[in-house]
Symmetry: C2
Subunit: 199 residues, 2 copies
Amino acid sequence: MTTAKRKRMPRAERMRQMVEVAEQVFSARGYAAASMDEIAELVGVSKPMLYEYFNSKEGLLLACIRESRSVLREVTEQATVGAATAEDALRRGLLAFFVFIRDRREAWSLLRHEMALIGTPAADEVEETRRQQTDLIAALMSGYFDSGDDLRAEAAAEFVVGACERLAIWCERHDEVNPETATEYAMDVLWSGLQSRAR
Amino acid sequence: MTTAKRKRMPRAERMRQMVEVAEQVFSARGYAAASMDEIAELVGVSKPMLYEYFNSKEGLLLACIRESRSVLREVTEQATVGAATAEDALRRGLLAFFVFIRDRREAWSLLRHEMALIGTPAADEVEETRRQQTDLIAALMSGYFDSGDDLRAEAAAEFVVGACERLAIWCERHDEVNPETATEYAMDVLWSGLQSRAR
DNA sequence: CGTCCATCTTACTCAGAGTAGGTTACTAGC
DNA sequence: GCTAGTAACCTACTCTGAGTAAGATGGACG
């Protein structure tokens, strides 16, 4: 949408435009059903350009995922600065996450699609990109908790991330659950544990 | 592998054989990279037969997923019978899950591939199939906890499932973590909550 | 005002999903 | 045994969409 009629465009700007369009198409149609031809046409460019810049369909998806994930990281990281207690930091981070889910549907939809790359050459890099989020949680926790052993802390971080992802997917089916409620549900289990609710 | 030379085979048996082969190919190559031609050849039958019985590649994957999930459900359900307390039931269920992950690599790999179907017509049915697991957890919990409100209980179940899935994926990268340890890590967060570890 | 290179295009190849329409082996009834 | 009838099966295609080879074009800078 940025300056319509112009033909030639510097590489960096064109790439950004391609990612922007691809993000929409991938999240609308799903990775498998999205076609490179359609993306190319929407960008207003021919297909080989996409391959020139991203090498493959997978590569393009990967670029989109990286973009979305960096935004997510930015948002959650910002949310936790200035938190006084561990509980407060956790709650703020969770709330930022669930707000992101609601407000940036396409971006979140994209992150869910990364699993489609399992078994492909890009799988490793996807995991690497994914670790970004767990690292953030792990770092956050190690600032507030007595870590004891690192493996346990890492496991806890993975645990939190997985739990929130799944809860977010669940939220999509429940419009009545807003970010605040979701955060509360998450905190309820995460912070207090199930023990506190045993009969 | 069941009786080699026989050509014709009753529908039900052939279907089982196809699913068995497809499970291996899908988990070895990944959904996208697996080809129907290869599966057909390995089964020792022509491609249209696969379509006769499963309609599409997606349909075949779906059948594999259903199979694996039903095994998983069986295993975890069995593990929790006869548990005296909520804590015990949870621990047994978790352990059964992590043992399944270790011992049935292909089946688990398959379950991870279901996300590849997001955005396709089968997506809804996948979610339906997936709910099986959360329902089990939810039922289990409602037997031991004061549920208060159902929505909260459902959310907690999703939470647990997501957390365990992610932790299981993490375990794949850490051979030194056995099912017992994984269970302990999970119980640690789930049961006691993070609060108990705050500095 | 020509040369160079980055941007961009047309016009293909090729693998693999899905299908139309015919063929063969097993089985039931005579 | 012999002839339907049908369920299991096959050959030989079509068609979509990822990926590519080879060349055209616009513009920046001497």
